[in-house]
């Protein structure tokens, strides 16, 4: 195996030097964190040194860095930069197979875990994030507009359903399109003032927009209940059949002659989010092969060329914002219906950041990548529960590893939206 042969200084020397630098940096940081400790001494605090522990940390950092570099180099030289220029069709077949099997797993999951509420709940949460990821993918991945306030549209959807159902007795299904339309309207509302902005400037404004929505919800007590949120939001029914032990009229388990089980509702909710997510996927994939979707991608690539080609960049941008916002609105309705209670707490910036992390980690613009990244980001903290205090540490380490090994995301290669018949005789 001959990896890219480095000149003059041997790879080993380079690695040792690199590890040494990191150790010095780590040592400086570890000095106050680990080297010093406060102890109680006769009612007062005193500072003690722990040189032994500090030295151990240094050794651990040095060895850890060496191992990390070695692993990284091994990973990189494993496949000598296979950047084939053409879109390979075996790749597409693999993706299709992966997508189909993921779908099968998603559909069969409740059959195997019918009694396990924890698994179904986690899978439902995953479904929400997949849907949000696909929605944000339209704005960030396809149109290339960095949106840090995406959670605002999620909140608009959730509050629309919460208010319509608790105040006016609207059903889930009636509120769904209204909430989607309202969220889309907010998307356009945000889109207009930021038409001329790009990149970091756009990010700052969208970040502010997300905060504005949250702070309005937090303070407009008479409208949104303020920090108390809105409770007793009706759960969705199975086309009019409620999931209850007993109710006026027929309930779900009576209608189907089943034994009452609280699990019915959770499984129904799970299938509902799977259906909504699939609908989202169908919509986005369809749009991608239409001129609308192509225009989004062209906008991401080069705005000036877009204008020269007669694309109205205003409508292209607004349609991307509106589509992404609408999908977040749908997800918000589902979220409110599932939780039964919402408050501004659920719509903080960290939610936006998580959704954005899903899109970036998945590889911008990749639909399958979003699913994988959402799985990583939702399931990993759950798995990490057994590590208790170290949970976020494990999570952070996983993020760093992914970004170090695959800097462009899990599935960075973009699929072409149109394929020609490979065999075609040239025209006369």
């Amino acid at each position: 195996m001959t990896a890219a042969a480095l000149p003059a200084p041997s790879p080993l020397a380079l690695r040792l030097r690199d590890a040494l630098v990191i150790t010095v940096l780590g040592g400086l940081l570890a000095l106050p964190f680990i080297g010093l400790v406060t102890v109680e001494e006769g009612g007062a605090l005193a500072v003690r040194t722990r040189w032994g522990a500090w030295a151990m940390t240094l050794v651990a950092i040095f060895l850890g860095r060496l191992a990390f570099r070695a692993a990284l180099d091994a990973w990189r030289s494993r496949k000598p930069s296979h950047k084939s220029a053409a879109f390979s069709s075996t790749d597409a077949v693999l993706r299709r197979a992966a997508g189909t099997s993921l779908l099968a797993v998603a559909l069969l999951l409740p059959i195997f875990f019918a009694d396990n509420r924890y698994v179904i709940d986690t899978a439902t949460t995953l479904g929400i994030y997949v849907m949000l990821g696909w929605g944000l993918n339209v704005v960030v991945g396809l149109a290339g507009l960095l949106d840090l306030g995406y959670v605002a549209f999620y909140a608009v959807g959730a509050y629309t359903y919460a208010l319509l159902s608790t105040q006016f007795g609207w059903s889930f299904w009636a509120a769904l399109p209204v909430a989607g339309a309202l969220a889309a309207l907010f998307g356009i509302l945000l889109g207009y003032p930021v038409l001329r902005l790009r990149g970091d400037y756009l990010a700052i404004v969208t970040l502010g927009f997300g905060e504005i929505i949250r702070i309005v919800l937090l303070n407009w007590t008479s409208f949104s209940g303020g920090p108390n949120g809105i409770g007793n939001i009706p759960r969705p029914s199975f086309f009019g059949l409620p999931f209850a032990r007993s109710a006026e009229g027929r309930t779900f388990h009576e209608f189907f002659g089943l034994e009452f089980s609280p699990m019915h509702r959770f499984i129904f909710l799970y299938y509902l989010i799977v259906a909504l997510a699939l609908l989202t996927h169908a919509l986005v994939s369809r749009l991608r092969v239409l001129p609308t979707g192509r225009a989004w991608e062209a906008l991401r690539e080069d705005e000036i060329a877009c204008k020269a080609l007669g694309l109205n960049t205003t409508t292209v941008k607004l349609s991307a914002f509106a589509t992404g916002a609408m999908l977040a609105g749908f997800a918000g309705v589902f979220f409110a219906a599932r939780q039964g209670f919402i408050s501004p707490e659920s719509f903080t910036f960290s939610e936006s950041a998580t959704i954005l992390a899903i899109v970036v980690l998945g590889g911008m613009g990749s639909q399958l990548g979003v699913v994988l990244a959402a799985a990583v980001l939702v399931v990993l903290p759950e798995v990490g529960r057994q590590f208790a205090d170290y949970r976020m540490l494990v999570f952070g380490a996983a993020m760093v590893t992914i970004m170090a090994v695959k800097p462009t995301g899990l599935l960075a290669r973009r699929e072409p939206t149109v394929r020609l018949n490979p065999s075609r005789s040239s025209a006369p």
């Binding site: 062209a298 991401r300 080069d302 000036i304 973009r414 072409p416 149109v418 040239s426």
Partner: protein, 236 residues
Amino acid sequence: MLELQRVSAHYGPIQALAEVDLVVRAGEIVTLIGANGAGKSTLMTTLFGTPRASSGRILLEGEDITALPPHRIARLGMALVPEGRRVFAKMSVYENLLLGATPLEGAHVEENLQRVFSLFPVLETRRTQRAGTLSGGEQQMLAIGRALMSEPRLLLLDEPSLGLAPLVIRTIFRTIVALNREHGLTILLVEQNARQALKIAHRGYVLQNGRIVLEGSGAALLADPQVRAAYLDAAS
């Protein structure tokens, strides 16, 4: 076909074009030469309304387009091959060409595609490849092909020879001549490569600090001592 009447343009307080008068007649190749920063590219983008002309009028086939939004101008039969090619790098050659057909809203896509492929056969063999992985010359062909997808009557080329090897430049220029002679396309060509541009042009304009300082037939400008001193001799 295209007429600029005393057109001025500004970037904030900086004047980029000063009362430019310029005419392109149907069937001509007209070239605009000038040094870096003379305002050549600004003139091209001003035709599309970014930046907007601060004074003067722009007429396309008699219609005043000075105040139209860019996406409307692109639908009037004028296509721009922008400076630096600006192909959509992560999209396939085919998708790039389809985007070029935007002004026609999906009409004649197949015929125009075949026309572009017969003009640049290399694009047909590369049609599923990402545009960003093409060589510079192929990207330039793609940029021209993309512009042709909208069936323009007037083609604006902004520095098509930028950063290309001499051999490739020759191919590109031959194509430009062919488009004009065989397909009857009217062409406005902006170039730093003054010698080659003037050789193929019917007429030319020399732009200096945003002003037209000279105009004449391609041959006359090639022979002009001022032009020779400023744009030709130094290069050869």
